[in-house]
Symmetry: C2
Subunit: 302 residues, 2 copies
């Protein structure tokens, strides 16, 4: 089964939105790729770079003219856009098909339910597990999603056609589509992404505010550099994610804090057996993860 | 002032000991580099690879024949070697000059003071801040220490000549020598190295032991891979470091746990200002660290 659309709009041309626009324009999934945003600058850069065919600053125009709309904005802006869109689309709940790329799904579901009495059939929430330390449309790349996973969190009220179209869009750019519930998505991402960011931020802030912090950073080496790389992430984006995924993130922090407390006890008791068992289990899991991930990257290059 | 010695022994030919042996043999700091260990295998490989000139399994022979001895073994084995050496060297406290490369200094100081009434004049504790994910003599490299820092923790009772000789040895392999107290070293390393390892091990173990852990690792991406890389480190080595540096590590864990608890409160209160301020401070410190470290690596390549 082959899908394509006449026109698709990408709302917000950052790294993710820009990369998706590039890929969809190149592979012909959409005959026309339209950029939308509140600021003209990245849209004009997007035109110059050939990422989009045209752009508009008018959301009504987007909703009138496009078959499909991808909300490319980050967490809290995406929620505002969901509200704006469904305030404008009270009766039209089958077209256009709306989807997104944000890191948290629960707050978008809440935003949709605040605008509509039931979850809109044409809103299919999604999250591509891809990114880069770079940001902005200048860093966008048509193969960003190749062999990456995209999590769809379809709702019971979603139309089968809308879910199929969003699946087809992601498959067209080389991604592997996986489905799970909104709650499951937010729990998994809290554990593997949002919690590690909190730990890295907390560690660097703790060391930077310690006495003699100059000395401390002077003697940090490669392991510390890798461990803290994610503490260089965008503070606004991560503030918004932390707030949007509050419930699952608090559960993850508490689970981690309990494990750290156990480890602290083992250190305090000089319990070599417990320390060794913990480190062995962690190393085995991390080594297996590295093998699996290397396999995924191999497929990406191959 | 140029230093060199007739013969130097390296006790334990791992990555660090092997790399140092290679470098000292190549640069002529020692006319003869002798390997010592409890197992013949890595010593024979060291001979085949040209890392050492000869080897022995007899510690008495090492102490009788060498001008300088580098304990290349990890934390707890290094402490055992300090005890063995100073049990064998009761009267001879000026030669040979003994030094080490282990990650913790406090336990070696304690080991020395258990063997001798005062800290031996000829024992100069040291720690090169260099390493690699690789291990073993096969991975050794003569330029491992080039432009890396080496922390010396001289004691008041150390002879000036012994400290100078150890400084000269490290400078001969391109390292930058920095001096601090044993307590300061163990505190700084707890913060920048030992604590991050505990956090990475605790996180991976927590996720691996959670329900549905398969799903969790399936959706982890590049940020998680970098953040958890150090959880693939050797469990025995890190068990020993955690126990040897117990006091400073517990303080670091407590400092971190307090910062994490503050961050948890900010998430629970949806306190965007506090989250943003914390992330901004951390990002600024991490970005500065990355710039400084890139500068160091530039010098290394240049």
């Amino acid at each position: 089964m082959s899908h394509s659309v006449e026109s698709i709009a990408v709302l917000g041309l950052g790294l993710i939105g820009g990369s998706l626009a590039r890929a969809l324009r190149q592979n012909g999934f959409a005959r026309r790729v339209v950029g939308y945003g509140r600021r003209q600058r990245s849209l004009q850069i997007g035109m110059e770079l050939g990422v989009i065919d045209s752009f508009t600053l008018d959301l009504d125009e987007v909703l009138d003219q496009c078959d499909m709309v991808v909300i490319g904005a980050p967490t809290l802006v995406a929620a505002e856009l969901v509200k704006s869109i469904f305030t404008k689309l009270p009766g039209r709940v089958t077209a256009p098909v709306i989807t997104d790329v944000a890191s948290v799904k629960g707050n978008l579901k809440v935003a949709a339910l605040e605008s509509m009495s039931t979850f809109p059939p044409n809103l299919v929430l999604a999250h591509p597990i891809a990114g880069s330390e770079k940001s902005g449309v200048e860093a966008s790349s048509a193969d960003l999603f190749l062999n990456h996973r995209v999590i769809l969190t379809p709702e019971e009220s979603n139309s089968v056609e809308a879910v199929e179209l969003v699946c087809a869009m992601w498959r067209s750019v080389g991604a592997e589509v996986v489905k799970m519930s909104v709650a499951e998505h937010d729990k998994v991402l809290a554990a593997t992404s949002h919690l590690p960011h909190m730990l890295a931020y907390a560690l660097v802030d703790a060391l930077a505010s310690a006495e003699a912090n100059e000395d401390i950073f002077r003697f940090a080496a490669g392991g510390f550099r890798d461990f803290t790389r994610i503490a260089s992430s965008d503070p606004v984006m991560w503030r918004d994610i932390a707030i949007a995924n509050q419930t699952a993130l608090l559960q993850s922090i508490d689970m981690f804090a309990a494990h750290l407390a156990d480890l602290r006890t083992a250190v305090a008791d000089a319990n070599g057996d417990q320390l060794h068992a913990t480190f062995e289990r962690a190393k085995a899991a991390r080594d297996q993860f590295a093998i699996d991930m290397a396999g995924r990257n191999q497929r990406k290059r191959g």
